[in-house]
């Protein structure tokens, strides 16, 4: 279910690669096609040797015939998806001064995760805290809280917190009780009220890190594009944003990037007075906001180029 046919096994092969570390000999990347391999114990048959980089960084030679692609298995995908990436703590920073409701993040998210049109993982709010204060656009992904209510209340462990900070959902475990949806104070979670009717690429298997396919009667939400992160790429919304609103990075590396500029997370927080939404709820989100100071666009411009159905969504927006 990857985006294109040519790198079908890439995401999982990295995982299998990690799994095969014990056997000792690793993966190869040939002309853009990633193939994971294991060495059969016997000697060469064709005599053609291929150089491979082992997991401990040594160059080794392996017979070509001994290289076999490892089948993608759902159980392996799922067990890897539960652990998360070691030594990482992902964090997102959203610069409210640059957002103008371009909605490219929403589109990229829906396309990337094959979501139905009315199924938004990324949402854009037009907020105004009080009638005396300013309006501002407020993109809202999942906050991937460090004390996630949704994970606490899940009765079957279908949603879980990983070591790298990401909160994922196993759509093959979820029973659809919707307790997590009432538990989440940020309305992040969406329910698959009907069959999503997505066309899946042939031979694709369910991967919780991509969240595809969504399953009828289960809960879905933003998953920080965990599949992209495993490939060392930015989440889809971050790369899609034309304004560079969204920064993504690693708290342990103290670095975040929006694709064009890379900055120190701690410095950004300090200089721009970063904050987290509703800190008082104590859920410890992994998403930080920068106040809409010295804006790049007037807030009204966010409604100019959108079609009527989108405008209609904000007609009740106002001070709370």
């Amino acid at each position: 279910m990857k985006e294109s046919g040519e790198n079908v096994n890439e995401g999982s092969s990295r995982r299998n690669f990690l799994k095969k570390v014990g056997i000792g000999i690793g993966a190869v990347s040939l002309s853009g096609v990633a193939v994971t391999s294991v060495i059969a114990k016997n000697k060469s048959k064709s005599g053609k040797k291929i150089k491979l980089l082992s997991t401990d960084g040594k160059l080794v030679e392996v017979d070509k015939d001994d290289i076999k692609a490892v089948e993608e298995s759902v159980t392996e995908l799922k067990s890897e998806a539960r652990k998360g990436l070691p030594g990482r703590k992902f964090v997102m920073v959203i610069d409210l001064s640059k957002c103008k409701n371009a909605r490219k993040c929403v589109d990229a998210c829906q396309e990337g995760h094959l979501l139905p049109k009315d199924h938004d993982w990324m949402k854009l709010y037009l907020l105004q805290d009080d009638h005396t204060t300013a309006r501002y656009w407020f993109p809202r992904p999942c906050f991937h809280c460090d004390k996630p209510m949704c994970v606490s209340v899940c009765p079957v462990g279908a949603t879980y917190k990983r070591d790298d900070g990401i909160v994922l959902i196993d759509n093959e475990r979820c029973i659809g009780c919707k307790f997590c949806m009432t538990g989440c104070p940020y309305s992040v979670r969406v329910f698959n009220w009907k069959d999503p009717e997505v066309k899946l690429p042939a031979g694709s298997v369910y991967d919780p890190e991509l969240g595809v396919p969504q399953v009828e009667g289960t809960v879905g939400k933003c998953i920080f594009c965990a599949d992209k992160l495993r490939k060392n790429e930015l989440p889809r919304c971050v790369s899609a944003c034309p304004m560079g609103v969204l920064y993504f990075g690693d708290l342990l590396e103290d670095t975040v990037t929006n694709g064009t500029e890379t900055v120190r997370f701690s410095k950004l927080m300090k200089d721009r007075a970063g904050y987290r939404f509703r800190e008082d709820l104590g859920t410890l989100p992994s998403v930080y906001y920068l106040p809409p100071y010295e804006r790049s666009f007037p807030v009204e411009s966010g409604l100019e180029d959108t079609d009527e159905s989108i405008k209609g969504r904000y007609k009740n927006a106002g001070p709370r």
């Binding site: 709010y125 307790f179 104070p185 309305s187 289960t218 209609g312």
Partner: protein
């Protein structure tokens, strides 16, 4: 002393023969039930899109019905347990109804959870992959414990009756039914030793189901209480739910007494005394329940916390009539009717009970839905028709189906067991019980 024969005739009106009226009522209930099954099939085929629930209001009528029926059950358990333990003399003709009410509500309630969850096929996951941190897991443990406890309590009270029915040679029933009685009576012969054991067991179970009922309904309240949602996140919810449950259960017991008294001509057994006693109990509980309701909403209204204010605002605008009915009329009117001796007639007490039970259902509705319509982030950027909740015919038909199954189960039980405990009535002088 009433003769056993007369007691059997009066209290087992459905066991020997089945009247046309029984069949007719049963068929009506069954038809409603079939509509519910059709609705359920629709929901399973097309998905939950056929309900009125959407991403904000994720719990609708089903959860309202669930907490309502569970409440009835816990109330039945509390009432029968307390009445039994305190050896309240007048309890004997009505305690069987309270026990039946407990078990039947407890059987119906969880079905509404089954309707609400998205993947019915994954229900076993609750047992296969349980997480003890989740209040739903607490609930699974609590409800199954309660189910076993209440079934046992009901069964213990039925053993003596089954023995009487087994030993009664003139009973005109099919041989299989006799065999069933023989089996269910467990060879009970009624000697002193057996009587003592049975009575001890019933006392222990009565005490246990009181405790279980309180714990179980508190756990259910905590499903709401532990969340951060405005209106739900309340420390008062545990005791508040327990009181509300007893309120509705007492009301339903009065309604059932009225129906049974009319249908089976039990005027001699269920007297005005029962209605007045339970009516007074209803009033006392209404006072507590009103007090809890008031203090819960007062603290939310008086403070300036934005989410609470928005919720109160919603309740007093969008839900104004429902709020007034549930929390003013539904509490005050039953109190007024029963507080003045002049209004205390059997029909008026029954009307008070009907108001109380309906109001409590509405109260459940305005606890569940308005909170979900008041999330921390405003409801925006979503399809406009997804914003307000209104239940669809699917949800209403399944609700009605639940009520019709409720009726059918009571009717089926009356085919096999006495509607008033014969053994209890036999023991005591009738005048003593019915004075």
């Amino acid at each position: 002393m009433l003769t056993e024969k007369q007691l059997l005739q009066d209290l087992t009106p459905e066991i020997e023969k089945t009247g046309i009226r029984w069949y007719l009522t049963f068929v009506i209930f069954f038809l409603i039930f079939c509509v519910g099954i059709y609705a359920l099939i629709q929901q399973i085929i097309k998905g939950h899109i056929v309900t009125g629930m959407r991403d904000n209001v994720v719990w609708g009528l089903y959860i309202v019905n669930f907490i309502f029926f569970m409440g009835l059950s816990y109330a039945g358990a509390l009432l029968s347990g307390v009445l039994h333990l305190f050896h309240t003399g007048w309890r004997k003709p009505v305690i069987r109804l309270a026990e039946l009410l407990t078990v039947i509500s407890l059987v119906i309630g969880p079905f509404f959870i089954f309707f609400c969850i998205g993947r019915l096929d994954r229900l076993p996951f609750l047992i296969i992959y349980p997480r003890i941190q989740s209040p739903i897991t607490w609930d699974v443990i609590a409800i199954s414990t309660d189910l076993v406890g209440c079934f046992l309590f009901l069964y213990l009270s039925l053993i003596e009756d089954f023995a009487i029915l087994r030993d009664y040679t003139d009973l005109q029933v099919k041989p299989w039914k006799k065999k069933v009685y023989k089996f269910l009576a467990l060879g009970y012969s009624g000697n002193e030793k057996e009587k003592k054991i049975l009575s001890n067991a019933r006392n222990v179970m009565a005490a246990m189901i009181i405790a279980i009922a309180i714990i179980v309904y508190s756990v259910l309240a905590w499903i709401f209480g532990v969340t951060l949602q405005p209106g739900w996140h309340s420390t008062i919810f545990g005791p508040y739910f327990v009181i509300a449950a007893v309120f509705s259960g007492t009301g339903l017991l009065i309604i059932l007494m009225y129906i049974y008294r009319k249908v089976y001509h039990l005027e001699e057994y269920i007297t005005k005394r029962h209605f007045v006693n339970l009516g007074v109990l209803l009033t006392i509980i209404a006072a507590f329940y009103g007090y809890f309701t008031f203090s819960d909403y007062l603290t939310k209204w008086y403070g300036s916390i934005k989410m609470d204010s928005m919720l109160i605002d919603k309740l007093f605008h969008d839900y104004f009539s429902l709020f007034i009915f549930a929390n003013y009329i539904g509490i005050l009117l039953p109190c007024i009717i029963i507080a003045f001796p002049r209004f205390r007639t059997i029909p008026s007490i029954t009307i008070a009970a009907v108001i109380a039970v309906t109001a409590l259902w509405v109260n459940r509705y305005i606890i569940v839905i308005p909170t979900l319509e008041t999330p921390f982030l405003p409801i925006q950027d979503t399809r406009p028709d997804w914003i307000r909740y209104s239940p669809t015919w699917i949800e209403w038909s399944l609700t009605l189906a639940g009520i019709s199954v409720y009726g059918m189960l009571f009717m089926l039980v009356s085919k096999i067991a006495p509607i008033i405990s014969i053994s209890e009535m036999k023991e005591e002088d009738k005048t003593e019980i019915l004075k």
